[in-house]
């Protein structure tokens, strides 16, 4: 079990010296418990305490890195079964397969397509993360040649998938500097595979025929001294993969060491729609790497988006998007209401505008998800910010008038808001429950 802040606190020097950058030892302990800082930040912790805390705070799922440089993929360090309990830490890697049965030019085209699988989501670029070269030919030289081509064309980290150690060895001789994932190691080849992974210091994929075999295989590999592992339970039907992924994560969180590594899952159904659905399940359910066959942008975009959403940190204020909302199909004469983007505030106001049966526009100003008075108190709901939203959201083109309704609680900013925005400010009621009465008496009067 992970330690609570209080348990960690008991091991700290309790000097409250602030050398760690936190105000108190307890604050540091709580930051440690939530993984926001590291024990190294405290220069005064005793060796005995360090030992206790290191072993207790070691992540239940090991951190495994594949590749080098900017595009390196980091997996693991996960601590929960459900994202709302804390957060999912390292977004799963999406790997696209390349078979070594393809011709040189086909490999070239396919990898170029993979390189292009990059999308703009909310102002940031997100793409696929790995190329998985599959030794379908069962020819070691052919495999090495294709690996060489792929490595020459793409900067993405590689997975070299072959259960033939000699094929892996030949490929590693060329690309070992890129620290690719290699394997699978299975019951038959694990000694040779582990020796290769150790020699080249690359992460190793371990595959069992079921969970029991996987666990004993991991223990054997670990006994040989290699712990940079990615797990594969061998399951290929979506139901079985889901069950195995859940077991592996669950047991890892209970500190069952053999399952304390990231996993890989294959969404390679020939029906591309089904493959996307399967991959979606694996993204949601604990997979470290999801391997797909498709280079179709339409298939990949949905997976990239889902991954971004699932791995978003849920510990953020509950806010609605700051934009113009239409309530009851308003027209150019309809009133414009100003509020904040705290979701509770937004839904209260939206509900009361609806109750007034007078259609209107609702503009929630971005206050980082805090309420009207909280936003005002912290300088986040100001005449300047409201003016900025009025000017940038396009509301001026949608209404023929220049009148807005301000929450009564911030009546004090009405003068400055009129000056800055040029809009006529009507100070509304303090409570949104007063909107129906207010709008009937005052709008258009």
């Amino acid at each position: 079990m992970a330690l609570t802040g209080l348990e960690i606190f008991k091991q700290l020097p309790k000097t409250n010296c602030k050398d760690c950058g936190q105000a108190t030892c307890l604050a540091f302990a709580m930051a440690l418990a939530t993984g926001k800082t590291s024990l190294e930040q405290c220069p005064h912790v005793s060796d005995a305490a360090r030992e206790v805390l290191d072993s207790a705070s070691a992540p239940p799922v090991a951190l495994v890195k594949i590749g080098v440089g900017e595009k390196q993929v980091a997996l693991g360090n996960e601590t929960v079964l459900f994202r709302h309990d804390k957060r999912f830490e390292n977004p799963c890697a999406i790997a696209v397969s390349v078979s070594d049965m393809l011709s040189e030019i086909e490999v070239y085209d396919r990898v170029a397509a993979i390189n292009g699988l990059v999308f703009d989501r909310v102002g940031q670029l997100h793409g696929v993360n790995m190329v998985a070269v599959v030794n379908s030919s069962e020819d070691a030289d052919r495999f090495a040649l294709v690996v060489q081509t792929v490595a020459a064309v793409s900067e993405l980290p590689l997975a070299l998938l072959s259960d033939d150690p000699s094929a892996i060895e030949k490929a590693l001789a060329i690309v070992s500097a890129k620290k690719p994932l290699v394997g699978p190691a299975n019951l038959a080849n694990y000694e040779a595979m582990t020796a290769l992974a150790k020699l080249y210091e690359t992460p190793l994929l371990v595959r069992g025929s079921d969970l029991n075999e996987l666990a004993s295989l991991v223990e054997k590999v670990a006994a040989l001294g290699w712990k940079q592992l990615i797990l594969d339970s061998g399951a290929r039907s979506v139901g079985k993969v889901l069950a195995d992924q859940t077991q592996i994560r669950r047991q890892a969180l209970k500190r069952f060491r053999p399952f304390g590594y990231p996993t890989i899952a294959f969404a390679t159904n020939v029906d591309s729609m089904q493959a996307v659905l399967d991959a979606g399940i694996y993204i949601s359910k604990y997979a470290g790497i999801v391997v797909v066959d498709s280079v179709n942008r339409a298939d990949i975009l949905s997976l990239i988006t889902l991954r971004l959403n699932i791995y978003t940190d849920p510990q953020k204020p509950i806010a609605v998007e700051s934009k113009v909302y239409e309530i009851l199909a308003p027209g150019p004469d309809s009133p414009v209401y100003i509020t904040t983007n705290f979701s509770l505030t937004y839904f209260c106001v939206a509900g009361d505008i609806e109750a007034s049966r007078v259609p209107g526009y609702l503009l929630p100003v971005d206050t980082d998800g805090v309420s009207v008075l909280t936003g005002w108190a912290a300088g986040k709901f100001t005449a300047e910010k409201i003016t900025e939203m009025l000017n940038s959201c396009g509301i001026a083109d949608r209404v023929s008038h220049r009148k807005l309704v301000l929450p009564g609680g911030v009546a004090v900013i009405s003068g400055r808001l009129e000056e800055l925005s040029g809009w006529e400010v009507m100070v509304g009621p303090s409570e949104s429950a007063g909107i129906p009465a207010f709008i009937k008496q005052r709008w258009g009067a």
């Binding site: 307890l26 204020p317 909280t374 004090v412």
Partner: protein, 518 residues
């Protein structure tokens, strides 16, 4: 009360006369003797003492009474006066609680530790805003605004001092030391320090621990050379008043896990024991001090402080502070009122009025329904005293903020309610908060009522302790440095807890096993 090294005290010193073998200077002789007697290393002297020192020492035949005024930990101790022994004059200390709404002051005999009198009054800054935020904004946005606020609080405190000193028949110059406890914004405004960044992310005050200043410089009407100290605070919204409160409860010295809650506008609370302390400010709003309600008032004569309502809401029994005609309702009365409105079926769990209540006391009033507590005929102010649906929901938000604050702190340290061994409640309320009803509406956690105690103005108590005892002053400094401030606006925990607590008593009834069911 035990007096153990007060901030200002006098000691008798027999100073060795200078000889040709020992021709050291007078100041050197004085400090050497003082050090020998008290062990104090860092000694300074006020200029007027030094000016008269040679004459005074010789006139007294080297047998003198030396006044030691402690400034603060860093500045050490000042020799504030040297007179021939014995010294006839009595000396007093002033403890001040600078509250956002109410200011309280107390005069203490520094020799005996006896209280010479206590007075309270409204903070005259209120004309510039009811809460600290409005006042900070007033200081920022108006030229001379900060000076206006400083003047208002100084006038408030100086009038209290005049009143207190007059009552004891002593001169204001006999007051030789002062200790102030106030929230961070109040302390800034009192000294005219720019408060602008207190309210802006990431919420940094100019100073949590303010060095002692001289009364003349601060504008406080006591002995102009008296040192005015401020109990150190922790963060923008956890100030010296909370440190003083923790000090007064003694919770930082005990093994017992204690929860201390100040149910005021800022809603500060501290949880912990002698090992650790964690705090947060839940911004409950002034509802329980009577603020923000049409008929809300402070706990003073005429305030309804007890309410009983029969089923259906047709009859109301109440009692007022002082027993006279009701003028309004104070915090304890509001808690009773909401509990009984719910119990009698007038309002539902969300605080909305039930659609058809036969009571003649429920009526439509402009924007919504309201419940009449006292008819104009019985009320002292000539109009009906009522509470509206919007006001009930406002009270529910206040109580939800307090409860959510407690839950968030417990979650942060991973402890259950059962781990809390004692709860101290401070705040403006009535004379005593009805703990049972506070649990029934979901303001306080449902743990045995025997664990609760109401402690009144803990901030003033802490200030008085600091006047009288060196160990209390040291403890206050340790407390302020030790409190871990939990920022409730970071993360979702508080918001989720808040929304769940907006009902009577809560959305999760299992959290309130003993709360009265309707």
């Amino acid at each position: 009360p035990a007096v153990e090294l007060p901030v200002y005290r006098k000691i008798r010193l027999k100073i060795p006369q200078p000889t040709l073998d020992d021709p050291a200077d007078d100041w050197g002789r004085l400090t050497r003797a003082t050090r020998g007697e008290t062990g104090i290393e860092r000694l300074s002297v006020s200029l007027n003492v030094l000016r008269d020192l040679p004459r005074v020492l010789r006139d007294a035949g080297w047998d003198v009474s030396v006044a030691l005024a402690e400034k603060d930990t860093w500045q050490g101790v000042e020799i504030a006066g040297v007179e021939p022994f014995p010294s006839g004059r009595k000396y007093y200390g002033l403890a001040v609680d600078i509250g956002t709404t109410t200011v309280a002051a107390e005069l203490v005999d520094l020799e005996t530790g006896r209280t010479g009198g206590a007075r309270g009054s409204f903070n005259r800054q209120s004309v510039y805003g009811d809460d600290v935020i409005s006042r900070i904004i007033h200081a920022e946005e108006n030229p001379g605004g900060l000076e206006e606020l400083q003047k208002a609080i100084l006038e408030t405190v100086n009038d209290l001092i005049k009143d207190l000193a007059g009552g004891l028949g002593i001169g204001q110059a006999d007051i030789r030391a002062a200790v102030c406890a106030g929230n961070t914004a109040m302390t800034h405004l009192f000294l005219g320090i720019d408060p602008a960044y207190i309210r802006l992310e990431p919420y940094t005050p100019a100073a949590n621990n303010i060095p002692a200043v001289q009364a003349g410089q601060a504008g406080l009407h006591i002995h102009p050379q008296a040192w005015v100290r401020f109990i150190p605070g922790t963060a923008s919204y956890i100030g010296g008043d909370i440190t003083a409160g923790v000090l007064a409860t003694g919770m930082s010295e005990a093994d017992t896990l204690t929860l201390f809650i100040d149910i005021g506008t800022n809603g500060e609370m501290v949880l912990g024991n002698n090992e650790w302390l964690i705090s947060c400010a839940c911004s409950a709003g002034p509802a329980f001090e009577g603020g923000g309600l049409r008929y809300g008032m402070r706990a003073m004569d005429g305030a309804i402080e007890n309410v009983r309502i029969t089923a259906g809401g047709s009859t109301v029994q109440y009692s007022t502070i002082g027993g006279g005609a009701p003028l309004g309702i104070c915090g304890t009365g509001l808690i009773d009122c909401v509990a009984w409105l719910y119990r009698s079926g007038v309002i539902d769990r969300g605080g909305s009025f039930a659609p058809h209540t036969p009571s003649p006391r429920v009526r439509d009033a402009g924007g919504g329904k309201e419940f009449v507590l006292a008819w104009s005929g019985e009320a002292g102010g000539g109009s009906d005293i009522s509470i509206s649906e919007a006001e009930i929901k406002y009270i529910l938000r206040s109580k939800a903020a307090v409860y959510a604050g407690i839950r968030s702190m417990l979650q942060m340290v991973g402890l259950p309610f059962e781990a809390i061994e004692r709860v101290f409640i401070a705040g403006g309320f009535g004379r005593y908060i009805n703990i049972r009803e506070a649990i029934n509406i979901g303001l306080l956690p449902d743990i045995p009522v025997q664990k609760y105690a109401y402690i009144g103005n803990s901030s003033l108590k802490g200030a008085r302790l600091s006047l009288l005892s060196k160990s209390a002053r040291d403890a206050a400094e340790k407390i302020a440095g030790k409190i871990t401030y939990l920022e409730l606006s970071a993360g979702n925990t508080f918001m989720e807890e808040f929304v769940s607590a907006l009902f009577i008593p809560h959305t999760d009834l299992e959290l309130f096993p003993t709360a009265a069911r309707r």
